[in-house]
């Protein structure tokens, strides 16, 4: 009994402590000031400003790397591993997945329709248009989500996110979109809210190791974390899906997000959770102007 009381007392103490620390810091802005503005706000302008300063950070950090080269991920900044990567890219293992993806893509659904009915312009390249903010459903739609929406609209069961068939289809679509340039827009207040939520995720420390995406992939990008050179966050989404030698398989950006979260000992969120979709939205916007080079191979 005594123990239980101690717990309760401890809990109260702890809470009051937390409350104290909150009070101390309440002077800082607790939410983005921009959200409060009226309709006259041009959200795209705000985003463009963000993109500009985000890039400037990397340009200052890596003055010898052209902006468009960041699509190669860590290999844009690490010459030592670039050579090995180029050798693997000569005949990358994901080429088998592209072929598989094509087979899946072209196979008709039970109702006689196919993916092509959902993705009419696939041959012209569509990867660069994802993710986008869908004004009808008021949410960010990623390519992977769209693939499963297409299936559901055609009475097919959804595919598992992460690896396998869905990743292969995504790879096939990305491969047809190579060299197309990302230019994701933030047209509305709602889109901006999703964007800001992704941005908040990017800068929020989490997990037992207390790291944010930005801690590793912005602030100390290019440094070594144990034996790995940390990749710059600009150019992360362009090469998706990715065949990682560590996985020995092709996986989606969601799979990588989950792995990254696990690396900082944070419980990964669900595939295609709103938080991850918003993060992908934010990250892709930060990579606007870069070309699609997915699927890609990474260590």
């Amino acid at each position: 009994m005594r123990r239980k009381i101690t717990f309760a007392v401890l809990a109260v103490c702890f809470l009051s402590l937390a409350a104290c620390s909150d009070d101390n810091n309440d002077s800082s802005t607790s939410e983005p000031a921009s959200v409060k503005k009226t309709e006259a706000v041009n959200y795209q302008d705000k985003v463009n400003q963000d993109v500009k300063s985000f890039r400037a950070f990397y340009s200052n950090k890596f003055p010898n790397v052209e902006l468009t080269e960041f699509k190669d991920g860590v290999y844009a900044i690490d010459q030592a591993t670039r050579e090995q990567w180029l050798e693997i890219e000569e005949f990358p293992p994901y080429e088998l997945s592209i072929d598989e993806g094509q087979e899946f893509f072209e196979a008709p659904f039970a109702n006689g329709k196919s993916y092509r009915d959902c993705f009419k312009n696939v041959d012209q390249g569509i990867r660069q248009n994802y993710p986008f903010f869908d004004s009808a459903s008021q949410q960010v739609v990623t390519l992977e989500l769209a693939i499963n929406q297409c299936r559901e609209n055609n009475a097919e069961p959804a595919l598992e996110y992460g690896m396998g068939e869905l990743a292969a289809i995504s790879a096939y679509i990305a491969n047809l979109s190579r060299e197309k340039v990302f230019d994701i827009k933030v047209p509305t207040k709602e889109a901006y809210t999703a964007y800001m939520s992704g941005k908040q995720f990017f800068y929020s420390k989490r997990g037992q190791l207390n790291f944010s995406c930005a801690d590793c992939h912005l602030k100390i990008a290019g440094s070594n974390l144990r034996a790995d050179v940390l990749s710059p966050a600009i150019g992360h989404p362009t090469g998706m899906p990715v065949y990682r030698s560590n996985w020995g398989e092709l996986g989606t950006i969601g799979h990588r997000y989950r792995e990254c979260n696990k690396n900082v000992r944070s419980e990964p969120l669900a595939y295609q959770s709103e938080a991850y979709r918003n993060l992908e939205f934010y990250q892709t916007i930060m990579s606007n102007g870069l070309a699609v080079n997915g699927p890609s191979s990474r260590k």
């Binding site: 005949f91 293992p93 080429e95 088998l96 072929d99 030698s245 020995g248």
Partner: protein
Amino acid sequence: MATKIKIKVKAKEKKGIVKAKLLVKHPMESGMRKDKAGQLIPIHHLKEVKVDYKGETVFHGEFGTGVSKDPFVAFAFKGTAGDKFTVDAVDSKGNTGNVEVKIK
């Protein structure tokens, strides 16, 4: 239950030399890896790849578990663009795969 081994080949001729690159879809299980339940995953690897051109074996690879997953190998032989060669593969479970390739 034999499954067909998937093989992808690129072959280009330049100055009478054919440079061929080969990618085989294979898990290359070493027999030392454990699955999530802690059980050893049985050894399963690509064993041999044989390449025949004009009635002659120009390449015959033997592979152990020390070869990476989804094995890649490149080799070269004297040949002519437009000709064809065959690639045959067999793995440790007796699965086979084959493909006919036209030299570019």
